[in-house]
Symmetry: C2
Subunit: 690 residues, 2 copies
Amino acid sequence: MKYILFFLFASFFSTAQVTKEQLNVMPWPQNISLSEGSFALTKNFKVNITGAPNERIFVGATNFLRRLDGRTGMFFNQGFITGLNEVPEAQLQINCVRGGKIDLYEDESYSLDITPNKITLNATTDVGALHGMETLLQLLQNTNNSFYFPVSKTSDFPRFTWRGLMIDGARHFMPVDVIKRNLDGMAAVKMNVFHWHLVDDQGWRIEMKKHPKLIQMASDGNYYTQEEIKNIVKYAADRGILVVPEIDVPGHGSAILTAYPEIGSKVEILNVGNGEKGQQLKQIQKYDLERNAGIFTPTLDPSNPKTYELLSSIFDEVCPLFPGKFFHIGGDENEGKDWDSNPKIQEFKKKHKLANNHELQTYFTMQLIPMLKKHNKELMGWEEIMTKNMSKDAIIHSWKGANEGQMAGQSLVDAVKGGYKTVLSNGYYIDLMYEVADHYAVDPMPKNVALTNEEKARILGGEAPMWTELVTPATIDSRIWPRTAAIAERLWSSENVTDINSLRKRLKTVSFRLEELGLTHLKSKEGLLRNISNNQKSDALLDLSNVCEPLKGYTRNSDGTEYKMYSPLTLFADVCTPDASDAVDFDQAVLNFLKDKSAENQSVVISYLNKWVKMDSDLNVLSNNAPLVQPLLPLSKKLKDISQQLLLKIDKKENVDSSVLNNLLEKCNTKEHADVELAVYNSLKKLVQA
Amino acid sequence: MKYILFFLFASFFSTAQVTKEQLNVMPWPQNISLSEGSFALTKNFKVNITGAPNERIFVGATNFLRRLDGRTGMFFNQGFITGLNEVPEAQLQINCVRGGKIDLYEDESYSLDITPNKITLNATTDVGALHGMETLLQLLQNTNNSFYFPVSKTSDFPRFTWRGLMIDGARHFMPVDVIKRNLDGMAAVKMNVFHWHLVDDQGWRIEMKKHPKLIQMASDGNYYTQEEIKNIVKYAADRGILVVPEIDVPGHGSAILTAYPEIGSKVEILNVGNGEKGQQLKQIQKYDLERNAGIFTPTLDPSNPKTYELLSSIFDEVCPLFPGKFFHIGGDENEGKDWDSNPKIQEFKKKHKLANNHELQTYFTMQLIPMLKKHNKELMGWEEIMTKNMSKDAIIHSWKGANEGQMAGQSLVDAVKGGYKTVLSNGYYIDLMYEVADHYAVDPMPKNVALTNEEKARILGGEAPMWTELVTPATIDSRIWPRTAAIAERLWSSENVTDINSLRKRLKTVSFRLEELGLTHLKSKEGLLRNISNNQKSDALLDLSNVCEPLKGYTRNSDGTEYKMYSPLTLFADVCTPDASDAVDFDQAVLNFLKDKSAENQSVVISYLNKWVKMDSDLNVLSNNAPLVQPLLPLSKKLKDISQQLLLKIDKKENVDSSVLNNLLEKCNTKEHADVELAVYNSLKKLVQA
């Protein structure tokens, strides 16, 4: 290509001095300093690897090269990197002292030195070197016709050793490609633990050779084969990521009990036959896969030896698939209803002097510890497993907060004070559609609690859970990204890195770059909007989606039955995301205007209001041939109505009755339409009240 | 959801009478008649299956329901369909007389009867019923607030029994999810043969347990596991699709010979050592995986018994993965250079009285027939295998045409006259970026050749080959779709269905609907443009992409070395597609204007010209921070320059020197920029010359 040659020469031209504020690195490194000058990228850019790294470095370095290639369109001469010291003269020299282990507490540090003619990446382990390559990719700059790296020195290491993302493959099954691209996303922001929620009321997702009934009866044909699991574990390890599997017991048991009702806790009296032939039979409850969302009663029977036989056998088959040290057994949300109503279980409690269901669950969980220890696995569970007799070897996964009637992070403090290692998820529930600022403000290290250094050390880090009641493979990425990158920064960077404006600015570029990994968080929107618009071209629908956010918390699917697990979720709410882009920008425009009512600041605000007036009119036209647009019209009208009045007031300087304004404004404070809310309400309120 | 209830009632309101011209069915059915009235869709819509179908019907019916669900946002109550006669009262009744075989000549017919209260889909086999469900999905209509099917009767069957798509997984490896979504696309347009090109100079893509060297040395780690292959074969069969694997021999042999150089044809004299210690050694040639595109010399040695031992053993392992009756052994583009220069092979020819390399290749191919017959497979090969002593059992894949110095389809006629069954691919090379009208005009049944009925019957059908030298998983869909749907229509529908305007109109909707299958042909564009623009918002780049088409034929990568097989292909040419949308629409606008110079017709033309003037200015702004936009500026400028002059002439009624116009016009007839051409050149020419 002719213009490649052009680049070759052009790239030596002026590259203005870059400042730290211009960098879009995330997580922000522990130390970075910039100097004058730049390293110019050319088609002949090459990578050389020395030292004694694990083989994963070759996969990593080749992927690094291809991504840089794709961004720059340079199509470097170097193809695959498969061995040590292949190109001693290469401009990028990567040295690793030793192979890294995929485990907690591994040395993940690296140092990156960019000079005008050479880049040196040194790390103790290849895992650190992988992180360094991600930083280098994020440091890429460009002029109008060339790409370069700024001369700089970075030395970096993580603050917490557990920087996790959980994906629920049970509610909506997430195929292998979805998992893989999200592992790539994790690696790009230096996350290192993938918690894979594989079993829940809605499905069993692990191929079982000794217990095929679990997939035959409880997966709808949607499961990961053992080969696929091994392949994903390898894929994760190649990216420095540890996989922690979860089989959720004893609650969330519908799937297991669909296949093995005999170990369920419920015993029911059934009326069989009718009329004179009718009789009452006490028989094993039949269970079915759950199709709704919520907390359900099906629970394993802790008094039945068969329960433990089955679980032990399951662990024997599943544990070898996961070489990592941890196994998550869930343990959450067991309400014990079926235990209370089962006389046999009540007897069992008495016999074992178990005062309540908590102690009964502890009894149950304690049986699992040796089953896992046999495979060198430590048991991890949601905070409910932390009862008074629970082994101190268990890792406590802290998740409850205000929504569960508890102080946020309380269980984390309780855990470390009680001698348990712990991981924080409360505050990181990305499925709940809160804005990025909320998650970014949550720190695993409690602020106002005095902890000893020993106790602090038990706080392993944090993890963002992505539950999948309301997402499909087409929408999950837009729920995970880009917000999870902010959580990754919280877990990696210094606790002092907290500037939300800097985060927001960097997140735009980070989000854009994540797309090169195949993540669909940006482009999935287009296809879904095309369906809603019935293939009609229009900016109006996009404009509306940029000021709407899905209902937050558990309000969208409040009774858990509005959407089934097989619902394709192709609605407007599925297109919208937290941090609606125009809403964020409009808020800034309003703040600017209220601070300084210059003509320029005013015109920005007015252009938004005009856009929404036009949007409403365009949406009405669109809706003539698009049934799925109909439910959005009332929402659009509300925004148009207040916009028109504000235009009269601000643009035309007319006197507008404040009661009229307030009335129209409050109509925008609604959750009644299409499972979304108008994210501009608060900004509009500022304008109205100004 | 409140609006679902709204739909329930609204859907009973007026639905205007639909005409055949409004239907967006493709391939067009053999018989379809519309009557007044409609079947209204409600949330309670259900499917029931009766008869004796193969189990694949349950997968198919469940998928059908989910797709209808996603389109309408109704989220039907019915979840999974897993057995016969589950819902006897269902509105959609599907009956199949018997299970279908995944084979040629299977009965694929169906009849579909839509009445206001009931839909009946009858078919001999489930394969026919699957086709009927696709037709039903395509018949979906809507009012402003409801969805319905028009009352109608359809009876349908295919014209040809081989309606194929070939995907080359060797040049650029195409992961499982790419294959699966394209199988879904094939099923949506009733194609039934997936030809999987699995081996070429650039890679061996089949996991081999007995010959692991093939993947260890010749796949770059990119291959399909045997489990994945079985899984894909099952996935295809569930959609009525037969999989035909291809291992291309004896040419295109670099990958096989990288692992097994000892069966290569080349013997080289090597200088080993230097100075006094130097000596000449005759030794086995070392082969490497090919990274470029083109025709290469590495060829298996037909005189070496080890060649046949290896191939026989390979077939023994690969054949059982594919239950279908056909195995494609390639056989193309063997230039015989290494045969000519190898004395041992020349001796072998003499000994076996093989007059030339064609006869030698025939000798080679004939050895493969019993290896395949052992597994009940018929041998298929590209037309080069058709030499005078070739077995009549072989199926001839006709591919050469003008580009290969041959009359298009000549080998097809030769084949059927010679007693061979044959499949046409010449004219269906979708990787070459020709417009849909070109492919649509090609009919497997030759027009001007007298053939007996027996000879005609040997024409099995046609197949669209998608070679992957210049595509990646991110771009392949946009090369396959939507044009392949037009080829599917050519192969299914009556030979009289040839109206290109009707095709173009229907193709817009078909293309849109294919997106629901996860195909990325529409939305991949957005992500690539975001990269080129360096994440700057702008319509200009999109506007330019809508008037540009990638260079056609083999001109883009003419020496085969500009792009390597590991090049990520993220350039502007990779975003552009044949049938550039604005170019097609502009041509119509020009035709309308030249026919009737009304103000309205003129304003449409003028708005395009104005758009391109503004586009050029916007692109210049964009390019200040986007190196990948730079190479597009000269092209944009050429379009702007002629647009400005035409605006002066048409809009301002000024006298513009025709030599100036012609000069600027011819600058638009260029292939010099960014591997694309301006698809509006011909339309501009009409305007200039008017």
